[in-house]
Amino acid sequence: MRGAPARRGVTAGRVLSAESTKLVSVPAHVWLALGTVVVAAVTAYGLGLFVRPGDARSGSWVVTSGFVLAQVGFLVLGAVVGSGEHTTGTARATFTAVPRRLPVLGAQTVVVAAAALVTAAAGLGASWVATAGVRAGGGPAVDLAVPGTARALAGFVLASVAVALLGLGLGALLRRPADAIVGGIVLAVVGDHLLAANPGPVTDTVRALLPSAGARLLQDDAALAALDDATRGPQLGTGGGGLVVAVWVVVVLAAAAYRLGRHDVR
């Protein structure tokens, strides 16, 4: 405590180190991350097969199109880390070692974000390689001069991290993986597509406020402009989608922190 060399006790750095050990020491987490990389690349390759010259898809769309399936992997990773403490009983060991509890959730947020970042970067790289043939063979090329292209590529990584953190928050809040996964899929993927079937001022507004708006991070400037032209709800512009999903992540994690701090751990 007073700068003694062998400091005893819990520190934020030590909790972070413990949580990273916990994340990588469960084989299912590692397989899930590898599977997510493969799914991103295979999906991008598969969708690339249907790209025809002149059908308005950009090069960045081709590379990042695997997100539609890969986001499920990120969501599940977050959800199993968040709920795993409670479903496996690890919570008893974890929260007797760190009885203040909130540092654990904070550390989990950091390690899940880091794991999602690395996984998404690998997925993006794998998708780049997988779609190289499509892009070279008459499909749209990735041209960083096209406005928003670099942002769209980085957006793949950011949106993946956001979905993983949403999963973590839902898992820690609901404490059961099935609930967190179903809830996350509805919020981040399915809800948007259901509402899209009934376009209107109300449904378009709701769509803009769902975490699925985070997928806008993957669009270049032209695609964002097309989205904003078509909507009858609020126009989110360049940063709006990212902001919406960031607010969701913060709110859900805050709710999870509240439950963790106030309620009993079984």
């Binding site: 999906t43 499920v72 996964i181 899929i185 079937a197 109300v202 695609a223 097309a226």
Partner: protein, 293 residues
């Protein structure tokens, strides 16, 4: 407590040297299902979501010039379908996740009757849920119909087939979930597989066929040529269990989806049934040939 009272009866049953008759296995699976809390919650959420979304959707379209209340009837199922699917997965995988199978398979060592009985129990529970969800959907379209003074006649035209199709669709999804759960034996992998098959892959295939879904707004799309020949993407999509099952909730006269072969409601139902049979058979094979831990 239960054990002490149940033991003498079990001994009597065994003294007659009878194997557990299938009806008893079925009764036991039914008791196990309805004594859990999650099926009831899932069913309640399904009915409420089905009714509410149908109501909102009918209200939203009631202003359209050609509004036909019955057309909105199945709109709530787009979300409510998750309920039976999740219910099936939880029951199918729950047996292994909770360790309940140890008592199940020592009671009925031949195992596969358990799987069939469990499937029937899930179907029965889902049937009740499906009927209530359909009733809630009918109630959901009534205010919109009344606001336009339009009659709701469920006995005319395609309506009876549509109502039946909705019920069968929901029951089918519960059975699909159950088969996946029993095959994969773990809740999270089974749930993720079910959600990807039923909800996510159709969206991914939509992206393949439709350049604007990811980067644009579907509403702004020009209506595709209805006479277009079936495409690879459309064919793959209609062979997915969720999309095929969804055909049950369309009327036979509405024609095929864009780029898909015209299976019709019956064909769609058969595709879904084929998925269930194949997955359940795989689960039965795994049950026979692999150890139960």
């Amino acid at each position: 407590m239960t054990a002490t009272t149940a033991t003498p009866r079990a001994v009597e049953g065994l003294s007659a040297t009878r194997r557990p008759a299938f009806a008893r296995v079925l009764a036991s699976e039914w008791t196990k299902l309805v004594s859990l809390r999650s099926p009831w919650w899932t069913a309640a959420v399904t009915v409420v979501v089905g009714g509410v979304i149908t109501f909102l959707s009918a209200q939203a379209s009631s202003g359209d010039p050609g509004f036909e209340p019955v057309d909105s009837l199945s709109s709530g199922l787009m979300l409510a379908q998750l309920g039976p699917l999740v219910l099936g997965v939880l029951v199918g995988a729950g047996e292994f996740r909770t360790g309940a199978f140890r008592s199940t398979y020592t009671t009925v060592p031949r195992r596969w009757p358990v799987l069939v009985a469990q499937s029937l129990a899930v179907a029965g529970f889902a049937l009740g849920t499906a009927v209530l969800t359909t009733v809630a959907s009918v109630v959901g379209i009534l205010p919109a119909a009344a606001s336009r003074d339009l009659p709701v006649d469920l006995t005319a035209g395609d309506a009876p087939a549509l109502v039946l199709g909705m019920v069968l669709f929901l029951v089918g999804l519960a059975l699909l979930g159950h088969a996946l759960g029993a095959l994969l034996r773990r809740t999270v992998p089974a749930l993720v597989t079910a959600l990807i098959l039923v909800m996510i892959l159709p969206i991914a295939l939509l992206m393949a066929s439709d350049p604007l879904v990811a980067g644009g707004d579907p509403a702004s799309l020009a209506a595709p040529d209805p006479a277009a020949a079936p495409t690879v993407v459309g064919t793959l999509n209609v062979l997915l269990p969720g999309t095929a099952g969804g055909l049950l909730t369309t009327s036979a006269s509405s024609g095929p989806m864009d780029g898909s072969p015209d299976l019709g409601p019956v064909g769609g139902g058969l595709v879904l049934a084929a998925w269930i049979v194949v997955l359940l058979a795989a689960a039965a094979v795994r049950l026979r040939t692999r150890d139960v831990r």
